[in-house]
């Protein structure tokens, strides 16, 4: 069943081969896998890694840590004040020194959908690889890795109705074949043989995808993720996106009725999926989150693990309403009532 799960998930993102689907703990581990298995051996002083300022910390910190080891440079592409990617700046920063470009497909703060396909094309024109952080896209919009032409795509189970502790790294087979293992242990080896003569072990790696899956796999997690994928497929990802866009449009319209609420991000809702960042005048985002919590409404507060983007917005923190397939317009009405109650207080 575990391998069936891999097959199912491969088809869900339209991978050519299920060997391109590596089970990991989540998006963070997937990106770290690329950083250490590919980056550690392929990035050196003089090379450049291109990252946008809207990235989640998990698509910044691994590269920052590695740059201190290998001495390469990280270039940060600008984000416009409305939270959209500054494509001109991103594209202008590519050079022959660029070895990999890393970009969120959808921002976890603003919900802006980036044209990752466009950036992948430019990356490849410069001989660079493209890593797409799909943590916020795979659960919410149709994603086709062949169409995107991403070299790597990372995503997490817990953001798409699956459990925590399971996620996926998709990688093009030819790249994964060339990469060294991420972690060592059982499962990821073909043979470990001890030579009495040399007093050493000689080790050969297992085939893909198991080369990257050291130790006892998270079998339950993989199977549960498959069931989540089946459920999403029954609804259809285009329908998921349509529902979220409708809710986002409705939420933005209703939240604009609140005079003390400031909304952030692009007003072009066609560029967004189900996330609305905001603040309430006179209250910290944490106060707003706990106020909503009192009414059984869960929102996120703080930096959302994206401090550089908050610096772009000149914000110390923000509250974030987010929607998925199980949310309704009635829940948004209730949420707006609560916001109005905060305003009245």
């Amino acid at each position: 069943m575990y391998e069936n799960a891999r097959e199912k998930i491969a088809r869900f993102v339209n991978a050519k081969d299920s060997a391109e689907i590596i089970f990991v703990r989540g998006t963070t581990e997937a990106i770290n896998l690329v950083a250490y298995s590919w980056g550690l051996r392929n990035l050196k002083s003089g090379d450049e890694v291109l990252v946008s300022l809207m990235e989640h910390h998990s698509n910044i910190v691994p590269w920052e840590i590695l740059s201190k080891i290998n001495g390469f440079t990280i270039k940060y592409a600008k984000v416009n004040s409305d939270g959209t990617l500054n494509y001109e700046d991103f594209e202008s920063k590519f050079s022959r020194k660029t070895k990999i470009a890393c970009l969120s497909h959808v921002s976890n703060v603003s919900g802006v959908i980036n044209d990752a396909k466009r950036i992948a094309r430019v990356a490849h024109d410069h001989g660079a690889l493209m890593l797409v952080d799909g943590a916020q896209s795979v659960p919410h919009i149709p994603v086709d890795v062949q169409d995107l032409d991403a070299d790597f795509l990372a995503f997490s189970g817990h953001k798409m109705l699956g459990p925590t502790g399971i996620g996926v790294l998709y990688g093009k087979k030819e790249l994964l074949e060339q990469m060294a293992p991420f972690q060592g242990g059982g499962e990821m080896i073909k043979e470990v043989s001890f030579s009495q003569e040399k007093a050493q072990c000689s080790i050969s790696w297992n085939a893909l995808p198991w080369k990257f899956e050291a130790g006892t796999p998270n079998i339950c997690g993989g199977i549960a993720l498959m069931e989540a994928v089946k459920y999403l497929e029954r609804i259809g990802m285009a329908e998921v996106l349509k529902h979220e866009k409708a809710l986002t449009e409705y939420a933005v319209k209703r939240m604009r009725e609140c005079r003390k609420v400031t909304l952030y991000g692009s007003s072009d809702l066609s560029l967004k999926c189900g996330i609305v960042p905001f603040n309430v005048e006179g209250l910290s985002s944490h106060d707003v989150a706990l106020f909503c919590d009192n009414y059984g409404i869960m929102i996120r507060s703080g930096f959302h693990c994206a401090q550089p983007l908050h610096q772009v917005f000149k914000l110390q923190s923000s509250a974030r309403a987010s929607f998925y397939i199980y949310n309704t317009r009635e829940e948004i009405d209730r949420f707006v009532e609560v916001l109005k109650e905060i305003e009245r207080a």
């Binding site: 910290s284 106060d287 106020f291 919590d293 923190s317 905060i342 207080a345």
Partner: protein, 89 residues
């Protein structure tokens, strides 16, 4: 002898400029915890009966009727534990 842990289920750090901590009181002890805080701390303001702002030892904090509190500007976890100890015990 009662200890802070009798009342507090979890303490989490917050991020942003309001850097502080969210204290979650144990569900079955939250009303008692809030009552004890109300007796010892000075009431500053109340918002819709849901958020109550207090001051204690020059530290301003907000208590939510759901059983959570946000402390801001507390130096570190040890200092927070001391304040909670003074408030709750």
């Amino acid at each position: 002898m009662p200890v802070v842990e009798d009342y507090v289920a979890r303490i989490e750090g917050t991020c942003g400029d309001e850097k502080g901590a969210v204290v979650t009181f144990k569900y079955d002890k939250k009303d008692e915890a809030i009552a004890r805080i109300s007796k010892k701390a000075t009431l500053k303001s109340s918002i819709a009966g849901i958020i109550t702002e207090f001051v204690f030892q020059d530290i301003s904090f907000r208590v939510f009727s759901s059983g959570k509190a946000i402390f801001k500007g507390v130096k570190n976890r040890e200092a927070l534990n001391e304040i909670l100890s003074d408030l709750l015990l």
